[in-house]
């Protein structure tokens, strides 16, 4: 990638939060890397909106239609009377269609989760193991070389124990 990045590592969430606030005031976009979830906006970061809820709906629709076609099709294609039930029996269709709908919804939700959290990600990029191992908090800024200098200063001011360039 053309643009470079700087990653500041903090041992305490408080320090990282203050650094994040400072960066925000400086009008710098930044990413937070943590080893465990924090309440939204804990670091003053802003998370772009997601469209996760669309996925299950689409999936449900797909599953529903496939299941309807499959069940209705099978019954009509082989009009064998069993037990005096109508050749096109709705209740059994309802059951299998229900399962198909749910299956579609679940599959698409999982896809949606991966897509919306931008995974899979071939290259980790700027990262540090101690984020998961020691519970450190990383604050990552991407941008032009010129920008990164002041950013690094801000990070240090707020107690970044280590700075990574990449």
């Amino acid at each position: 990638m053309a643009e470079r990045g700087v990653l500041g590592l903090f041992t305490s969430a408080e320090a990282a939060a203050s650094a994040g606030a400072a960066l925000r005031e400086a009008g710098v976009e930044f990413e937070v890397l943590t080893g465990s979830p924090y309440p939204e906006g804990a670091f003053g970061e802003h998370t772009p909106p997601h469209r996760l809820y669309v996925f299950p709906l689409v999936g449900a629709l797909c599953g529903f239609s496939v299941a309807i076609l499959l069940t209705a099709g099978t019954q009509l294609a082989y009009p064998l009377v069993t037990g005096g039930k109508p050749v096109l029996s709705i209740p059994p269709m309802a059951i299998i269609t229900y399962e198909g709908t749910m299956l579609g919804a679940i599959l698409f939700t999982v896809l949606g989760v991966l897509f919306e959290s931008r995974l899979p990600r071939p290259l980790l990029g700027l990262y540090d193991k101690r984020i998961t191992l020691e519970g450190w908090v990383g604050i990552l800024v991407r941008g032009e070389e010129g920008l990164l200098g002041p950013v690094e200063r801000i990070l240090r001011e707020h107690g970044a124990v280590e700075i990574k360039r990449g």
């Binding site: 082989y78 009009p79 064998l80 009377v81 069993t82 037990g83 005096g84 039930k85 109508p86």
Partner: protein
């Protein structure tokens, strides 16, 4: 809203192709004539390549008898009398065994027969569970015949493999043969052309077989008898085997729980 009334009798199944329905095969069993001699059982055994029911098989409760004579002892005061009821597949219109088969191994054909497709069967045994008449049989073992008997196997009937269900077919091979012959002679099927093995073997003429759609066939006439009833009517299976109640001073109403 009186048009909302539905008949208390179970609805007959919707015909897949009503135009094509020419026959509705029916059997009438006159319990007053039945002596429980088991001739029908033996005849069926021979006709349909049913594996031998050895003593070991009996002890395993795994007998295969497409038609069986159920014997019940009744105590009337001092004397105890035996009552017999031949039970076979009732070829129900609303057969509970059919819809539960996951692979369409059993279904209802246009002649009102409940047919079993051996090749499709995977042996879930669900149909057997859901047959109220215990008329379905599972091949727990590979059927074997002593070499002396191998030549008596009926070439018109499949020899079933282990792991599949089988049951009375109303001797469909005989039905087909009769139809074939009638066709060759260029005539329509007469009453009495089709005689299943059990009917043929019955010495007291307790069993009779025919087409209920033919108004003056023997079964149609017998079916109008006031003794006529069907077994387990309240289940609404719509059997095609009609029983004529025993004329018997001791006989209670033809309900089923007067046994044992």
């Amino acid at each position: 809203m009186s048009e909302a009334r539905v008949p208390s009798q179970p609805a007959t199944p919707p015909d897949p192709q009503p135009a094509r329905r020419r026959h509705k095969w029916t059997m009438v069993v006159d319990l007053d004539r039945c002596t429980g001699c088991q001739a029908c059982v033996v005849a069926c055994q021979a006709e349909n390549n049913i594996p031998l029911n050895t003593e070991a098989i009996y002890l395993q409760y795994r007998v295969i008898e497409w038609i069986r004579i159920e014997r019940y002892w009744e105590k009337h005061g001092e004397e105890v009398r035996a009552r017999y009821i031949p039970l076979l597949c009732q070829q129900c219109d609303n057969a509970p065994c059919e819809p539960v088969c996951p692979v369409y191994a059993t279904y209802h054909n246009v002649e009102g027969l409940n047919v079993q497709v051996y090749n499709r069967c995977v042996g879930t045994r669900y149909c057997a569970n859901n047959c109220p008449y215990h008329a379905r049989f599972f091949n727990f073992w590979q059927p074997v015949w002593p070499s002396t008997l191998e030549n008596q196997l009926n070439p018109d009937v499949t020899v079933r493999w282990r792991g599949i269900m089988e049951k009375c077919t109303f001797c469909i091979q005989r039905i087909r043969r009769a139809q074939r012959e009638a066709a060759q002679e260029g005539r329509s099927l007469q009453d009495g052309d089709v005689v299943p093995a059990c009917v043929q073997a019955c010495p007291t003429d307790a069993l009779s077989f025919g087409d209920i759609l033919d108004p003056n066939s023997r079964v149609s006439r017998l079916a109008k008898d006031k003794r006529a009833y069907t077994v387990l009517k309240e289940l609404g299976t719509g059997p095609n085997v009609i029983y004529l109640a025993k004329v018997d001073p001791y006989a209670p109403a033809p309900k089923k729980h007067d046994h044992h």
